[in-house]
């Protein structure tokens, strides 16, 4: 017997897919359930069925729901040793390419994107790099494009940046005003922001590096395989894949297509 909650969830996800073409059906159930419960309460609905009815008739409500379903809270240079490995072991390889293409898959509000851009600037590679920053949430993409973060968050960013092996202070890259740190617009001069879904879209170009961190944790194993498959197809031979500190290719169907580059830092290299 399936409980009512599970039935309501399934129907709601089907409705969202049919009506708005956003596919959450293969998301990890535990966190999805918490997010839906939080959305239901905040949007003032008694049940998920009530939320479903409103979603079908009020398109504006969907963009609100999307914020609940996709919000992630991350730091710049999260896991400084990941970026240290990038700086010390991967940048020397990237340097051998005349032009570099990097895909930040699931860039959310841009913390990861700016971390990459700053590191590449420090290593003198930003000018010949194009970064594709993609996400399914248009509001998050807009935030990423703005590059504005509350100043309270900056000390943590600064400390992480320092521990990533930075050669100068993070304050070189932003100006603080009205409670926000505004990151230098030249950092995003060669960034292409784009709406892209790892669940429903396909590959869009050949990359030397893909970073997709703490995105796969929201997917079930079937969808993880689909997403990693896209990244594999996007990467050139010997291209690099960076994952979150608790994500790995161990359970993946595409495990054999990669070799461990720095397994402790979750850097992989396509064979």
């Amino acid at each position: 017997m399936t409980d009512s909650d599970a039935i309501e969830t399934r129907l709601l996800l089907d409705a969202i897919y049919l009506r708005y073409h956003y596919d959450f059906r293969s998301y990890s159930p535990a966190s999805l359930k918490r997010r839906l419960a939080s959305a239901r309460r905040q949007l003032g609905c008694e049940t998920l069925s009530a939320l479903q009815e409103r979603l079908l008739h009020e398109p504006n409500l969907f963009s609100q729901l999307l914020q609940f379903l996709t919000v992630q809270v991350s730091d710049m240079f999260r896991d400084p040793t990941f970026f240290k490995t990038l700086r010390e072991q991967i940048v020397p390889v990237l340097r051998t390419y005349p032009s570099i293409r990097i895909w930040i898959a699931g860039c959310s509000s841009g913390e990861e994107l700016y971390s990459f851009a700053i590191l590449l600037r420090e290593e003198g590679l930003l000018e010949r790099t194009t970064i594709y920053a993609t996400d399914i949430n248009p509001n998050a993409l807009h935030q990423a494009e703005q590059g504005l973060y509350p100043v309270e968050r900056v000390p943590a960013f600064t400390e992480n940046h320092r521990r990533s092996g930075a050669r100068c202070s993070l304050s070189e890259y932003y100006t603080a005003a009205y409670g926000s740190a505004a990151f230098d617009r030249s950092l995003r001069k060669q960034v292409v922001f784009s709406d892209h879904s790892l669940a429903t879209d396909s590959v869009f170009g050949e990359m030397q590096l893909v970073s997709c961190r703490n995105v796969l944790i929201y997917f079930d194993r079937t969808l993880q395989d689909r997403a990693i498959g896209l990244m594999k197809d996007a990467l050139c031979r010997r291209g690099f894949l960076g994952l979150g500190s608790k994500e790995s290719l161990l359970l993946s169907a595409h495990k054999a297509a990669f070799r461990d580059f720095s397994p402790s830092e979750r850097w992989y290299q396509k064979c």
């Binding site: 990890s28 918490r34 997010r35 809270v73 400390e159 944790i217 608790k246």
Partner: protein
């Protein structure tokens, strides 16, 4: 010897533990007591500072008979292992009894959150879950313990009078009405039996 049946405990397939201020000392009196042949997984959330890896696995590994690990995403929740939540992630258990992680916003300032682990574990194990709330200076774990009770599981709170910080077990007692309130040596004895073959 402690009689588990008299406490109303009918066995479990997993144990979840939450602790905050004073956690290391409290856990030091419990986890090393668990026998190597324990047949259920023990999953532990301790509030940790973000931005640095947790030192708990390294701290407890040499002291424990059981395997001590931090789970990766989607790793099965295997028995015979003490699993510590990694820092700066919420740790959850899916209904197929695999771990999953999230970087959703902190719940009442905590990531990992005890409530998040307990609520998802209650979904996954139903009445076959035992939750233990130890010392801590906030009320995380109370709602999670309530969810375990609502699903028919068993909840133990450390006696607040004996806890390093009493707020957390006190909140759990107020909101979840645990089946048992006990001292650390009693909890160690209980878990030794609950996880071992002698139950």
């Amino acid at each position: 010897m402690l009689n588990l049946e008299e406490l109303g405990f009918a066995g479990c397939d997993a144990v979840v533990v939450g602790a905050s201020a004073g956690a290391v000392e409290a856990l030091t009196r419990i986890l090393p007591e668990l026998p190597a042949e324990a047949r259920v997984p023990v999953v532990v959330v301790v509030h940790l500072p973000p931005n640095r890896p947790s030192l708990l696995p390294e701290l407890f590994r040499p002291r424990c008979a059981l395997r001590v690990q931090e789970p990766d995403d989607k790793q099965p929740v295997t028995a015979g292992t003490i699993w510590f939540a990694p820092s700066d992630y919420h740790l959850m258990i899916e209904r197929d009894q695999a771990f999953s992680l999230s970087v959703d916003e902190p719940v009442r300032f905590s990531r990992p959150s005890i409530d998040v682990l307990f609520e998802t574990a209650a979904d996954a194990y139903g009445p076959r879950l035992c939750g233990v709330v130890l010392t801590g200076a906030n009320d995380d774990g109370a709602l999670g313990a309530r969810a375990i009770r609502d699903a028919g599981g068993f909840v133990v709170a450390q006696d607040p009078a004996l806890a390093d910080s009493k707020e957390m077990p006190t909140a759990t007692i107020a909101r979840a009405n645990p089946q048992w309130i006990a001292s650390l040596p009693q909890i160690a004895d209980f878990l030794r039996q609950a996880t071992g073959s002698s139950s």
